[in-house]
């Protein structure tokens, strides 16, 4: 027993969960971590010790950003996946190495505990049936996407077989490399059925060599005068779109630090008066979620926990926001649906203001501008 090494989990793993490298060596050893063939970290030790590698790997992963208007049904999404190699060599010349595939994202602690030694990728993302997508939408049997929240769904192409998408007896083959990560472009699939077969599927099937893997249903969105869209990075390392409806209230969140003031001497009256600099305010939007069902609740909680949330289409801009829901409470035993308020605090604070129509003058064609046409825009 001169060099014993283990790495858990093995083969495929999430960089958002612990990746433990345990080493037992009788002489000084060096371990190296390569991410996509680039040396990312070197460490050394002697005796029995362990170290966690997830942060080293996670720093080299970037969340893929596939778009609905992509012309492909399967959009390659390689940035959220890295091939890694760990090698260990001690002074006695003994050598150990392993390779694994790391994915952005992670599972909850409850799931990690219940998984034990089994691998979530084998059980779910590479399973032959069930919800194979990196999404919290739907259940294990089907995926539901609200029609206003359609965005490409990340998944790993099955290791064997060919995927197809089928509706009403018509189908398209989805060709991809086994084990590679792709995003399924639902918008493009619906448009293809519309163009080629004169139908607009509200529910279609994903099949592997003809056998049903999972059904994807498009659920109706409620009518609403006000609608806000949030794009957020989910727990599973995929960007998702979330719709918020209901009236929004604008406000400003002032930073806690008091605005500094200073005294200025006024010659005219021979005394001091108080003066201050410009006050920077942080815009805030309070939005009601509208009706949230029990299935959707976890999706909202994931958004509240996300580190990267963007408000889309607010005055034609994309704005980074920090969401919070200070008084978030909901009935433990859910029946029907519930609504709660979410505060979206803008990440930029500003002490200068510009008139609203300045973006139109900067060339963004809208109504009442020279670019206005008779088409609705």
């Amino acid at each position: 027993m001169a060099l014993i090494v283990s790495l858990t989990p093995a083969s495929r793993l999430f960089a958002g969960n612990p990746v433990k490298l345990s080493i037992s060596t009788s002489s000084l050893c060096k371990y190296k971590v390569y991410v996509n063939n680039v040396l990312a970290y070197t460490g050394s030790g002697i005796g029995s010790f362990y170290t966690y590698l997830q942060d080293i790997i996670a720093a080299r992963l970037v969340a893929p950003r596939p778009f609905n208007n992509d012309a492909r049904m399967l959009i390659p999404a390689t940035s959220g996946v890295r091939e890694c190699l760990v090698s260990v060599e001690n002074a006695a010349g003994e050598y150990w190495s392993t390779t694994f595939t790391a994915y952005l994202g992670g599972m909850s602690r409850a799931v990690l505990r219940s998984l034990g030694n089994s691998n979530i990728f084998t059980n779910r993302f590479l399973a032959s049936t069930g919800n194979i997508f990196f999404t919290l939408r739907g259940t294990n049997d089907y995926v539901t996407v609200k029609e206003t929240e359609i965005s490409p769904l990340l998944f790993i192409y099955p290791l064997a077989g060919r995927l197809s998408v089928e509706y009403g007896g018509e189908s398209y083959n989805l060709d991809g490399d086994a084990g590679a990560m792709y995003a399924l472009n639902i918008e493009k699939i619906r448009r293809a059925f519309y163009d080629d077969y004169k139908c607009l599927p509200g529910l279609f099937n994903i099949r592997l060599d003809g056998d049903l893997v999972v059904s994807i249903g498009i659920t109706p969105a409620e009518l609403s005068r006000d609608r806000y869209y949030l794009r957020f990075l989910s727990s599973l390392g995929a960007y998702e779109v979330l719709e918020m409806k209901g009236l929004a209230r604008r406000g400003s969140a002032e930073d806690n630090a008091e605005t500094p003031t200073f005294d200025v001497f006024d010659d005219l009256v021979g005394g001091y008066r108080q003066q201050r600099g410009r006050v920077a305010l942080r815009p805030k939007l309070s939005v009601s979620t509208g009706d949230v069902t029990e299935d959707e609740l976890i999706f909202y909680q994931d958004m509240l926990a996300s580190e990267d949330v963007t408000l889309l289409g607010y005055h034609g801009q994309e704005i980074k926001v920090l969401p919070s829901s200070p008084e978030l409470t909901f009935a433990h035993n859910f029946s029907g649906s519930q609504s709660f308020n979410v505060d979206l605090i803008f990440s930029d604070q500003d002490d200068r203001y510009s008139m609203d129509d300045i973006d139109a003058r900067l060339g963004d064609g809208r109504i009442h501008t020279h670019e206005f046409t008779d088409q609705f825009n």
Partner: protein, 56 residues
Amino acid sequence: MAKATAYYGHAPSNDELDEFYRLLTMPSMERDVLLEASTVTVSENQHFAIPSVVWP
């Protein structure tokens, strides 16, 4: 496309087909009116999905 033809009163152009697609995919009253006038197919597990629209 019979339904789109009926909607526009003539064989629709590509722009009008784009418009028709936009109407079918928008969450509004207009879409529901269109659905009423269309052949709606019901699939398995349809209870959680919006109806699929098929026209002759």
